[in-house]
Amino acid sequence: MRIAVLSGKGGTGKTLVSVNLAAASKESTYIDCDVEEPNGHLFFKPEGVQEEEISVKIVKVDNELCNGCRKCVDFCKFNALAYIKNKLIVFEDVCHSCGGCILVCPEKALTEKAKVIGKVQKGVSNEVTVLTGMLNTGEATGIPIIKKLLAENNPQADQLTFIDCPPGSACIVMESIKDADYCVLVAEPTLFGVHNLNMVFELVKLFNKPFGVVLNKCLDEENPAEKFCFENNIKILGRIPFDNELGSLNSNAEIAVNKNEKYRELFSFLLKTVAKEVRCNETTTNP
């Protein structure tokens, strides 16, 4: 069972929720798909870490063979190739690795080489398997890393996998939730939080994912995110209070459920609610 945790806005508590849910469920898997800024591993401090480099294929030119016909330049929709001063130049950063230029080259002057864009780490923290993707700085897209991370994970039916998603609602988030069985949206009680909650709400509807909302940083005041849920008839899975102690544990990269019984209860209860929702959804969609 795969549960994706997402939010639209950054800093609402995706990592807090996914790390603590994974830790509360004992035997589980945690996958950090926020490959641009992965933080889950800072909390889990996994042991026995195995690392694998992730590379993409980038086109390579043999200028001895190139006859300057420019067919590749004309074909490339991404403007990754240019023929300047009798030389074919490849702009590696914008190459999408589609392979089209190789196909159209009549001189077989183009081949591919591997370019490392980041890595995947796999380790264990207590009973949690921790998978982390890390994009190298300066690289534009971590999608190949996310694909690898999700392919790496073969969950057993009775085991939970928590997918910590990147912020936003673009292609990279879509890739992260694609195979999820359930989505948990984390929202904070601000004007910005509600605006971005609305965006991921649209996203999970677009992909027909069952979902519910966790309200984080709740104060006694009026909560615009809660109001949004009521108005749109969205299931509220739980409420996490705005709490200095929790904030302090979190800022020191401590897993709250392992530090304080009160948070273990909070997240265990949230976990039960989420698990119930997931099961309930399964029976309605697969009768």
């Binding site: 800093g11 641009e36 800024e37 800072l42 929709k77 300066g138 897209t141 879509m174 996203l203 990269a253």
Partner: protein, 291 residues
């Protein structure tokens, strides 16, 4: 025109809160929101005119003409993005298609064409003296870096007479951030005193440094973890990066934002602190030989 970009690496550290305060303090005539995935700056910049809206076309998407399709499977076998699905008939998954045109090239029946696809919407707020450029990427869309470039182009095209532009960036270090970095004179990084925040700050500093952009750092909510705030200060000293101030956690900040106000519109501790960060930023941005 000097361009200041506000970034953070980690999300939710206060980029938009600080950008909106700077815009107010500078009475900025040109500003933009480059967080096209999750734009928020328009919520507190107080424009009460309707923006000029333009559809943004990203790369085109492949489309299969079923009347011509002979189901030879060439397109599906050659697509590197897994975007061709062979179910009851052949079809293109528009979310997976990157618009490379490989399938159209290999199709022996000429059944595939590339059609323009709307990937987002650009919005331009302007009056005689001010301009605000922003955009919203379509759900699940790619090409966010290209849209960011359009947002900046749109801001400049308004030809407002000003020496300063303030640009609110997006979280992360990937394509929208890289696109927002191009051509700016200085990056202000809003750090957060958490272990996660420090890790993310180091990654965004490395990314910005690759572009040779001038960098300055401030800490938001510095008093939520004094130990980590010290670590960030020490890091800046060691790296020779200008550390230009800290802003306290302030529950009034949320109250102001939720009313659609900036933190300098009300009398509050975060508002007072951000003024100092603002003055130091402007000194660095406009210093002789800088940028």
């Amino acid at each position: 025109m000097k361009q200041l970009l506000i970034l953070s690496g980690k999300g939710g550290t206060g980029k938009t809160t600080i950008a909106s305060a700077f815009i107010k303090l500078a009475d900025a005539k040109a500003y933009a929101d480059c967080d096209v995935d999750a734009p928020n700056l328009h919520l507190i910049t107080g424009w009460n005119v309707e923006p000029k809206k333009t559809d943004y076309y990203g790369l085109p998407k492949a489309e299969i003409n079923l009347e011509l399709c002979t189901q030879c499977d060439q397109c599906r076998q050659n697509c590197r993005f897994g975007a061709i699905k062979a179910e009851s008939h052949y079809k293109v998954d528009p979310f997976a298609c990157e618009g490379c045109g490989f399938c159209a090239y290999v199709c022996p029946a000429e059944a595939i064409t590339l059609v323009p696809a709307v990937a987002g919407e650009l919005m331009l707020y302007s009056d005689r003296e001010k301009v605000f450029s922003t955009a919203q990427l379509k759900m699940g869309s790619g090409n966010s870096g290209m849209l960011v470039t359009e947002v900046k182009k749109q801001m400049k095209s308004a030809e407002v007479d000003t020496g300063l532009a303030i640009i609110d960036g997006s979280p992360g270090i990937g394509c929208p951030v890289i696109a927002s970095l191009s051509g700016v004179n200085m990056v202000l990084i809003v750090a957060e005193p958490s272990i996660s925040g420090i890790s993310d700050m180091e990654r965004i500093i490395n990314t910005a440094a690759k572009f040779g952009t001038k960098i300055a750092i401030c800490i938001n909510k510095y008093d939520t973890n004094i130990k980590n705030t010290k670590k960030i200060e020490e890091f800046c000293n060691k790296q020779g990066l200008p550390y230009i101030g800290s802003i306290p956690f302030d529950s009034n900040a949320v109250k102001a934002i939720n009313k659609g106000q900036t933190i300098v519109d009300i009398d509050c501790t975060s508002g007072t602190a951000v003024k100092e960060v603002y003055h130091k930023t402007m000194n660095l941005l406009f210093e002789q030989g800088g940028g």
